[in-house]
Symmetry: C3
Subunit: 268 residues, 3 copies
Amino acid sequence: MAHRRIITLLTDFGDQDTYVGIMKGVIVSIAPEARIIDICHNLPEFHIESAAYMLWTYYRQYPAGTIHCAVIDPGVGGDRAAIAVECGGYILVLPDNGIAGMILSDSKRKYRAFVIENEDLMNKPVSSTFHGRDIFAPVAAHLAGGVPVEEVGPPLRTPALLDIAEPVAAENNIRGCVLHIDRFGNYITNIPYDMAACFNKKTIFVKIGNFSIMGISGTFSDKEPGELVAYFGSTGMLEIGVTRGSALETIKLPVGASVKVTGRTNDR
Amino acid sequence: MAHRRIITLLTDFGDQDTYVGIMKGVIVSIAPEARIIDICHNLPEFHIESAAYMLWTYYRQYPAGTIHCAVIDPGVGGDRAAIAVECGGYILVLPDNGIAGMILSDSKRKYRAFVIENEDLMNKPVSSTFHGRDIFAPVAAHLAGGVPVEEVGPPLRTPALLDIAEPVAAENNIRGCVLHIDRFGNYITNIPYDMAACFNKKTIFVKIGNFSIMGISGTFSDKEPGELVAYFGSTGMLEIGVTRGSALETIKLPVGASVKVTGRTNDR
Amino acid sequence: MAHRRIITLLTDFGDQDTYVGIMKGVIVSIAPEARIIDICHNLPEFHIESAAYMLWTYYRQYPAGTIHCAVIDPGVGGDRAAIAVECGGYILVLPDNGIAGMILSDSKRKYRAFVIENEDLMNKPVSSTFHGRDIFAPVAAHLAGGVPVEEVGPPLRTPALLDIAEPVAAENNIRGCVLHIDRFGNYITNIPYDMAACFNKKTIFVKIGNFSIMGISGTFSDKEPGELVAYFGSTGMLEIGVTRGSALETIKLPVGASVKVTGRTNDR
């Protein structure tokens, strides 16, 4: 292979422990040539939508062949499966709890999924509390080292898809929800640009909780400091921010909150 | 050498400053081929037991030859020595303040320790406040580049060993303490599985503060949400958690708290 | 080139999102051989002085040829330029908002600066909210891959220089200010050792807010626990700390606070 295989790591292990450091040790021991890239290890609180959104934001930015390992796994010790999914030139190694949902939808569900059952690829004995070390890291490393994905275990027809409401478009409105709130306090919704493009930008009303925002701006700094602003963010989704401030501090609603867009269509 | 030498970094420099970034610059300037792996830079508060435990958790996960550099060093500016220790195929580069204690005990004290005094391997002039930059990083880099460990300085017969009470086993009980509290609020004790294995799992009582837990579970999610649960964690130590919650929020005791295990032995 | 080009990353994107992970994906896609080094992604609150200080602390620790990419950019979406600056063997890729100020002063202003306008080096379409992904990361990657710096766009005679008061020396005193407060609560000032060296160390008074410190110590641990201490820190600047404590908790003043040093000169 021309270039070293990349393994990206997204976990909820935080930054106060050695769990991620242990996973990296497992990886470099099995696949010394693999390149490990830290994505993020702090999810403030578990929201399946938020984790699925985060994974979706970066996976396509990496070269084909990259292995995206995501250990966001409140169900460790329960009975969810560990899976490997080949999709769009990438391999995902993660728990089958829906966090791959946005990627799998995005790929129009062209993927091959496998349940990880091949113990030869695991760190034994497999603990009941740290699948990051015992399953996800060693499997990702073996895949980086050239093991074909179908060797991890039997095929899985239907991985868990994220059971969030897709945005629903009617003639004069779109109903969606908040997928993620970033560290700046911006609300990122599940309403993509393409869906809202039919509305005249100046007539759009965005409603969240008791707050209404008139019109779509070019960016979050387009209004007076402290004012709410709606704009399409860097991932193409409708976002709600506050110019030089935090929308979270103003709106105070959590991930999952409803968002409604109303407007007149451009062709009227 | 077939593979690039690895240098792992464990520090208490946090994630809001450039101290770690400066150390990495020193390393890549001296040993451009070394591979740097971040373990963790946030220790919530200094506890020698917790730091020693953290270092112990990951060192064996790395390939032989790895250099583990740990700058957890509230005594910088004082008179503790800087040392390099060859142990079990690894080299530790760290202050002589006891944080290597669990590894040195673990290795049955087969190690070679040296006091770092060779100024040719240091960044000069050596500051009194930032030994990470001036001593630990450059020495780790020179070792990665092939300098033999005995060149760092004179041998040291007895590095500081961690002065924590080893768990004490009597006929019907074991007395230990809390080594670490992780970001999920799980209490990790110094009582290993091997020591507790003589007790019948169902008859075991685990006592910490005013709380008692009956029986050992397979994992932290084995009880009803909110209930305390005792289990053997991923490093083989007895841990106390709360199913879908935080034991820290319930128990509210710090690192160092006493833990007592009582039970009937299996062979009775 | 003998060694892989290094790209360091300093951002204010925090550790709860995937913004940094996205930037890394852009970089490895364009320049697979580049070595990415994380410096710091958490600035507690935006202070131009603090960001400029942080960048200045580590840039010279890296080998010549290193590309320092700094995306500390509250003005994204506004009209500040993106620039690339060749300076002292390094290339800086950053917004033209003054954060390069301390480096450019430090280099006695020998540098070549260019406005980034060449869209062939950008990720298109360029969003209005995420220049890290669309401008800074791809430009840094192309430079690492060998594109000459003058190809990024037209020359810029005068980048924004940091508009902070330089320390002012009078016969018996120096007036400066706080540049940065580190995670240990130490105050780092803009008063360098060279400027204060003319004063007799024992006669120096350091004044900040309502607090006065008599004499300069060798390090922050030279006094009784809890006492304020003034010393020259690892970057050569006057710092104010508390032995085994946090000066921030005692002094409670923010970045930018005034600091005054008075004393008798040594030659009197």
